[in-house]
Symmetry: none
Subunit: 219 residues, 4 copies
Amino acid sequence: MEMHCPSHSKPRWTRRKEARPQELLAAALDLFVERGFAATRLDDVAAQAGVSKGTLYLYFTNKEDLFKAVVREHVLPVIGEAEAMIVGFEGSSTELLHAIMTGWWEKFGMTKLSGITKLMIAESSNFPEVAEFYHDEVISRCNAMIMRALVRGVERGEFRPMDLEVALQVVIAPMMMLMLWKHSYTAFRPEAIPADRFLAGYIDVILNGLHTLPAIGNP
Amino acid sequence: MEMHCPSHSKPRWTRRKEARPQELLAAALDLFVERGFAATRLDDVAAQAGVSKGTLYLYFTNKEDLFKAVVREHVLPVIGEAEAMIVGFEGSSTELLHAIMTGWWEKFGMTKLSGITKLMIAESSNFPEVAEFYHDEVISRCNAMIMRALVRGVERGEFRPMDLEVALQVVIAPMMMLMLWKHSYTAFRPEAIPADRFLAGYIDVILNGLHTLPAIGNP
Amino acid sequence: MEMHCPSHSKPRWTRRKEARPQELLAAALDLFVERGFAATRLDDVAAQAGVSKGTLYLYFTNKEDLFKAVVREHVLPVIGEAEAMIVGFEGSSTELLHAIMTGWWEKFGMTKLSGITKLMIAESSNFPEVAEFYHDEVISRCNAMIMRALVRGVERGEFRPMDLEVALQVVIAPMMMLMLWKHSYTAFRPEAIPADRFLAGYIDVILNGLHTLPAIGNP
Amino acid sequence: MEMHCPSHSKPRWTRRKEARPQELLAAALDLFVERGFAATRLDDVAAQAGVSKGTLYLYFTNKEDLFKAVVREHVLPVIGEAEAMIVGFEGSSTELLHAIMTGWWEKFGMTKLSGITKLMIAESSNFPEVAEFYHDEVISRCNAMIMRALVRGVERGEFRPMDLEVALQVVIAPMMMLMLWKHSYTAFRPEAIPADRFLAGYIDVILNGLHTLPAIGNP
DNA sequence: CATGAATGAGTTTTCATTCAT
DNA sequence: CATGAATGAAAACTCATTCAT
């Protein structure tokens, strides 16, 4: 079973300059999300990435720099994709909202990126610059996407006139909380609602409210 | 030589032994919420409470014990009040929901207790026991209150039949997020919606949805 | 032999807030002089001062701060004393020079302060601010003292007119080197000249030169 | 496929294997002198020499070995030259002293080798073996050269009888300090005396002293 | 009770050294 | 030969906890 070729002795490490930063960022994301910035030891990040502590410092200046990179690198690509996805959408605003929410869940909520939501809420006061970046590059752009859909719906007569800024928050909040729950109290919420059922019910309530009234075609 | 009038000697600190733990808990709440558990130094807690670091250990066994006390002490009384408030409520379910939300905001959201929401989300994986306690004693009981109101509404024909578990989340989420925003990104959200306007619009959307339909009497 | 009084059990540490900084500075001076800044471990400084590593940080922000304090605290008092010593000197300039040199040796050269000369030469490029401080507060003031003595000697006809700036360096240099030797190559220079013999011969050469000429009364 | 014309392939580096160690020694000298041994990173030495860090280890066993080589390689040739220069000197002892000093300055003081003086003073206690080597091979031989000149002067009646060991130090010290100043406080001493003026004044004072007496022919 | 000086285990950070390429 | 990614021991620094006063 053991290879008799002597040249196959396992090396102490293999050279993989290009892959390393991503591996480290992935490990760091996991641990930062689970434990928070201060409670995460760089030893553990390195171990989880399968490298030694020193290697980390070849790619990141210090712990804070690693944190910033985690947020920056993981988040930006996704936002771009999401925005691209809804450009030139043709259907009803109800369908648009549904599409946005589904996409949000699939690109962000379902993946480990959802943890960044928790991370940023927990650490925003410790890292104002990162928080500002995240607010401007992620939150604002997400909000703008939803807001455009709401305005579009009202303009097309699909949605009723309302306090749209508040409506925006009401629309966003359940998705945010869904992501946050994923990373807290998990042990105590085995009953968690399956995502598709959640999405369906969520869109239903958002569109039709709680009141007893003829609901309009939920796609 | 120096003590023939002991009763007039000026005490170095005013006597308020009983107040000490509360002052420490208040200081700890502030700092834990702002910085997180690990990033909060007991030095700073003591300083903010106006006592020395050693004093802290007269009242709390260690940092973790302080953390548990912060959650326990601050949260329990409020939940009791909230539950008491809605026992035997007489009005419509819409009014009940409105009352619960208003009470939630006034007792919890408006005060510094709102920070505990953020704190628990950030630290729940670091303190499973506290998380369990918080989940059972706060989250579940809050959820149960809302759920009772929803069930009541459906039973009384005020609310339409829905996936109530999902509806519960949708109802709760905006209030949760409102509290979370208060403790993150504040610097970048000067535009924050005033609470009363938020509450009004929020109840409106929750009850009536986004769709273009005749809204039913929003109290 | 063991004291039967139970209250005499030896404490892990004794409280001596006022003495600590001086003890630490003394230990740091020794080690910085012997090994240089970078090669000195704070562990060793603390150990030599008889405290733990953490204690060091109660009094100094970091290693650099300790270094600055070592130079500042040790050097300033001595300079003041030296300057005071020669104010209103009455004798001949030869005697004045002799007095200055003797004082220099006794206050500075003979003591462990002499190490600071070596330390500053070694570290001046690593700590430009400290070097500037040292240059302005120590070197310039020492030079000024000697220069005043030289000018006084020339004005009174005791010393011949010369390039005084150069003479200044020639006068100073042997004393500087004497201090530097003390902290380098000591192991290889058991033959080191006793200080009093050195001082006598040094003053003689400086005053009378090497040339064959009738020397003038060397005090 | 790729090598039918190997002699024309452009080499990635110009072939000058023999020069490598010298480039590394030069870079190391610069940095050791400026920062000291411990504060010099081999990364920087390699970078300044224009090679990679690993290359350093092809020529030197470790950092200490590099240090020893820096001292050894730079210093020995110069001493030999200096000694050769004065063998069979014919002029007056005054002229001999002048020649030695001028040679010292030109071969050593003016060049970057002067930094080794500072380096050895700073590091002698960290590297006793190197210090011993330097003391025996450089300091002692320099001292011997000067001492021979002094003895010669006394024997020929040009110099008066004195404590020659002390005189030796007095003669050497200003030159030593001149070299040391060059590598410390430079930023704060723009007023530095030009070397030729320094040399002239220095010889004058050394030969004739400070006292008011007819000077003897300063060459 | 209250204090705060002192501790030391635990983390971050550095960098000489190794070794697969 | 030359490279530079990777290592890990060692050093700086932090801070929860203790305890003499």
